[in-house]
C-alpha cells in the first residue's frame, strides 16, 4: 500500500438477512477504530456515500440466487484485491439453499400470487462456487471477534487465526458439561466448526451447526450414535442437517443419505 493511504473497504450483500454485516455495526467498542483504520468506501447499510473501486478488501454477505447476482459477483471480484465471504449464506448457500433439495417453481407458487414476476435460480449457492474467495468466515451469524480478527489479519498481511476444529473443543476448554453424554440431548457439536464459543451447550441446548461442518467431520458416525443411543429417527437426523448450512458438502451428502432411508425408493 503506497504511503499512508488507508485500505478501502467495501461491504456487499446478496441473498441474506443482513445479520452478518450488522455484526460490524454491532462492534460498538471497535467500530470507530475500524473506521479509522479503513476507508469505508462502499457499505450501503451504513453510508450513502459511494466511492468507486477498486477496493482493497471486500466483505461479501449472502448467497447467489438470481441470474443478475450471478453476474454481479464477477464484477465485485474484479474490483476487489481481497474478497472474504462472511456468514453461512455466503459460505454455504444459507437457509435459502433448502430450495436446492426441492422444486423452486413450486416454492415460488407457494409464496407469490404471480410467480411470473419472480426471477430466481434453481439453487442457492455460496460465493466460492462463482469466484475465487480469499477467505471464508463461517457462522449464522458470524462471530464478532472472528470478524475483527479477520479484518485485523488483513490489515497486517497475515493469515487469520480462525480454528477449524469442532465445537466439542470449545466445550471442553470452557468446562461445559457434554449435553449429549450427560443429558441425551442431540448435539451437532462433534461435527460442527468452532467459533461460537460453545454457545448452545452452555445454555443447556444441543449445537445446531450455525458454523457448518468442521474440518474432516465424521457425520455418519454421529448419526449412528444418535440413532442407537438416542433413538433418533432418519427424519430427525435429516432435519437437523437441513438448516443454515444445508448445502455445505458434508452436510448435504449425509442428509441425502437419510432422505433415501426416510423415503426408500
Amino acid at each position: 500500500m503506497p504511503g499512508k493511504r488507508r485500505p478501502k473497504l467495501a461491504v456487499w450483500k446478496f441473498a441474506s438477512c443482513d445479520g452478518c454485516q450488522l455484526s460490524l455495526l454491532d462492534c460498538e467498542d471497535e467500530l470507530l477504530d475500524v473506521a479509522g483504520a479503513l476507508d469505508i468506501a462502499y457499505f450501503p447499510e451504513a453510508t450513502r456515500s459511494v466511492q468507486p473501486g477498486p477496493y482493497d478488501l471486500s466483505l461479501v454477505e449472502g448467497s447467489i440466487t438470481t441470474p443478475h447476482d450471478a453476474e454481479r459477483i464477477h464484477q465485485i471480484r474484479r474490483d476487489s484485491r481481497q474478497l472474504i465471504s462472511i456468514g453461512a449464506c455466503a459460505t454455504a448457500g444459507g437457509i435459502q439453499a433448502l430450495r436446492n433439495f426441492k422444486d423452486v417453481r413450486e416454492f415460488t407458487r407457494i409464496v407469490y400470487a404471480s410467480p411470473q414476476y419472480i426471477e430466481t435460480l434453481r439453487r442457492s449457492t455460496p460465493i466460492a462456487e462463482h469466484v475465487r474467495v480469499d477467505f471464508e468466515l463461517r457462522g449464522c451469524p458470524i462471530a464478532k471477534h472472528q470478524l475483527i480478527e479477520v479484518i485485523s489479519a488483513f490489515l497486517n498481511g497475515r493469515k487469520p487465526n480462525v480454528p477449524t476444529y469442532s465445537v466439542c473443543q470449545e466445550c471442553k476448554r470452557q468446562g461445559v458439561v457434554c449435553v449429549m453424554v450427560a443429558h441425551g440431548t442431540p448435539c451437532l457439536g462433534p461435527v460442527t466448526q468452532a467459533g461460537c464459543g460453545a454457545l448452545c451447550p452452555s445454555y443447556h441446548r444441543g449445537c445446531y451447526a450455525c458454523f457448518g461442518p468442521k474440518e474432516t467431520p465424521n457425520i455418519p458416525a454421529l448419526s449412528q450414535w444418535r440413532r442407537e443411543r438416542l433413538g433418533a429417527s432418519d427424519l430427525e437426523i435429516l432435519r437437523s442437517l437441513r438448516t443454515f448450512n444445508a448445502a455445505a458438502a458434508e452436510f448435504e451428502r449425509e442428509s441425502i443419505r437419510h432422505e433415501h432411508q426416510n423415503h426408500p425408493g
Binding site: 452478518c20 467498542d29 450501503p44 453510508t47
Partner: protein, 429 residues
C-alpha cells in the same frame, strides 16, 4: 415534453436492498415506485414439513436486525395451537429480551441511519467527527440493548436461547441485577438522546394515517394485545387476515399489504405511540412532553423522537422487569403438538410482525404465512413520497433525492425482512 427521472439504485442506510424511481413530466409528478429487489428466499415454502419447534430459529433468519420479533411471533403462534399457558416469569423474560431488541434496533436507526440525514452527513462515521459525544454515547446505549440480548439470548444476532414453551436456560436474579447500574445510565442517556432528537429541524409533514398496532389493557405492547387502529379496527390477532390483505405487484418481491376496502396503513413507533400513549412509563411520558410531542404524532420525520421515547420506555420497563423477577421453577414448559392453526403478532421495532401456522398432530408444519412490518408499510411509504415530492419538485435532483431517501428512512425499512421487499430513480420529463 421535459422529463426528469430521479433514480436511486441502492437506497443506503436501510437494511436490505431496494430502489426508488420517480418520474416527473412537464412539472407534474407522474409516478413513484419503491422497488424491492431483495431476492426471494421462500421461507413460507420451506417451513412446510418442518417440526413446529423449528419455526422460531428458522424464521429468525428472515432478519438479522429484529430476530426477536420472529422468535416471538413463532413461539406465540405455536403455543396458541397447542394450548400452552406460559408462566409469568417466562412471559416477563420475553418482554425483557424484546426491550433489548428495541433499544439496539432503535438506537442503530436513530443515531447511525436517521440522524445523519437531519445534520447533512452521509453516515454516522462522518457525523462522529463533528459530534463525537453523540455517536459514542449512542454506541454505548446500543450496546446495552445488545447486553440484554446476549444475557437472555446467548448472542445479539439470532439468539439461541428462545424455544417454544420458554427458554433453554433462564438467568439468575443476580445475573439480571448486575445489569441494573448500566441500565440506569442508559435510561438517563436515552432521555438525553430524546432531547437531542427534539432539537433537529423537522419538515412540516403531518399525514392522515390509519395507524395499526397492538393494544393491551395493562401495558405498552410487545407480544400480546388486540390489533387496533385509529379508524375503528379492534380485532383479535386471529382476525388479521380478515383485516389486512396482501397483493403481489410487479415492481417488488415484497407483497404489498392493504386494509381491506380502505388502502394503506402505517405500522411502527408512530402507530404504537399514538394508540398507546397512556401506557408509556412515567419518564417516557416526561421525555415525550419535554420533546414537544403531542399525544398523537402524524409526522413521520418525527419518528426519530418517538423511537427515542420508546427507548426510554424500554429501559424503564427492563428495570421494572428485573426488579420484579423471580426465576420460574423450570426454564420452559413442555408443549405437546396437536393439529390446528395458530397466530402470533408482536411489535417488532418497525411495527407488527405477523405469523400464522397450521400444524398436524405430529407437529409438522402444513402451512405458514409471515408478514413483516416493512412489507405492510411499503404502500404508505410510496404514498408519503407522492405527498412529499409534489411541494418539493423545484429542488435540484440531488437534493430531492436525498430528501426522498430521508422520507423512506423515516420508516427504518427493513428490506431483508420484506422480500417476500429498495434502488431511487427520479424521471423528469
Amino acid at each position: 415534453m421535459s422529463t426528469r427521472i430521479i433514480q436511486v439504485d441502492t437506497i443506503a442506510r436501510v437494511e436490505g436492498e431496494g430502489a426508488l424511481r420517480i418520474q416527473i413530466s412537464d412539472g407534474k409528478l407522474e409516478d413513484v415506485k419503491l422497488r424491492i429487489f431483495e431476492p426471494p428466499r421462500f421461507f413460507e415454502a420451506f417451513l412446510r414439513g418442518r417440526d413446529f419447534t423449528e419455526a422460531p430459529d428458522i424464521t429468525a433468519r428472515i432478519c438479522g436486525i429484529c430476530p426477536v420479533a420472529y422468535l416471538m411471533g413463532a413461539v406465540h403462534a405455536m403455543e396458541m395451537i397447542c394450548g400452552a399457558v406460559i408462566p409469568r416469569p417466562i412471559r416477563d423474560l420475553r418482554r425483557l429480551i424484546y426491550c433489548g431488541e428495541w433499544i439496539e434496533s432503535h438506537i442503530l436507526h436513530m443515531a447511525m441511519l436517521h440522524a445523519p440525514d437531519f445534520l447533512g452527513y452521509p453516515d454516522a462515521i462522518a457525523m462522529a467527527k463533528d459530534h463525537p459525544d453523540v455517536v459514542k454515547k449512542a454506541l454505548r446505549v446500543k450496546k446495552l440493548g445488545n447486553d440484554i440480548m446476549v444475557l437472555l439470548g446467548g448472542r445479539e444476532i439470532h439468539p439461541i436461547n428462545v424455544r417454544v414453551g420458554g427458554f433453554y436456560k433462564v438467568p439468575t436474579k443476580e445475573q439480571l441485577r448486575r445489569l441494573k447500574p448500566d441500565l440506569q445510565w442508559g435510561l438517563e442517556a436515552a432521555m438525553e438522546m430524546v432531547r437531542f432528537a427534539s432539537q433537529l429541524n423537522f419538515q412540516d409533514f403531518e399525514q392522515d394515517y390509519e395507524f395499526v398496532c397492538l393494544r393491551h389493557p395493562d401495558e405498552y405492547p410487545f407480544n400480546e394485545g388486540m390489533m387496533v387502529s385509529n379508524k375503528g379496527i379492534e380485532v383479535p390477532i386471529s382476525a388479521y387476515d380478515t383485516v389486512l390483505v396482501e397483493e403481489h405487484v410487479p415492481h417488488s418481491t415484497a407483497l404489498h399489504s392493504r386494509i381491506r376496502g380502505r388502502g394503506a396503513c402505517h405500522v411502527g413507533p408512530l402507530a404504537r405511540y399514538t394508540m398507546n400513549h397512556e401506557k408509556l412509563t412515567p419518564l417516557a411520558k416526561t421525555s415525550a412532553r419535554e420533546a414537544g410531542l403531542a399525544e398523537i404524532c402524524c409526522n413521520p420525520f418525527k419518528s426519530i423522537i418517538v423511537r427515542g421515547v420508546e427507548v426510554v420506555f424500554a429501559f424503564e420497563e427492563a428495570l421494572r422487569l428485573i426488579d420484579e423477577y423471580e426465576p420460574p421453577d423450570r426454564p420452559f414448559i413442555p408443549v405437546t403438538p396437536r393439529a390446528g392453526t395458530g397466530y402470533g403478532c408482536t411489535e417488532a421495532p418497525r411495527g407488527i410482525c405477523y405469523h400464522r401456522y397450521t400444524i398436524d398432530d405430529a407437529g409438522a408444519i402444513q402451512d405458514a404465512k409471515i408478514v413483516s412490518p416493512t412489507a405492510v408499510n411499503q404502500s404508505t411509504i410510496e404514498k408519503d413520497l407522492w405527498h412529499f415530492i409534489e411541494p418539493n419538485m423545484d429542488l435540484p435532483d440531488d437534493r430531492l433525492q436525498w430528501e426522498c431517501e430521508q422520507a423512506i428512512r423515516n420508516y427504518d425499512p427493513c428490506i431483508s425482512c420484506s422480500a417476500h421487499f429498495l434502488k431511487l430513480e427520479v424521471v423528469r420529463q
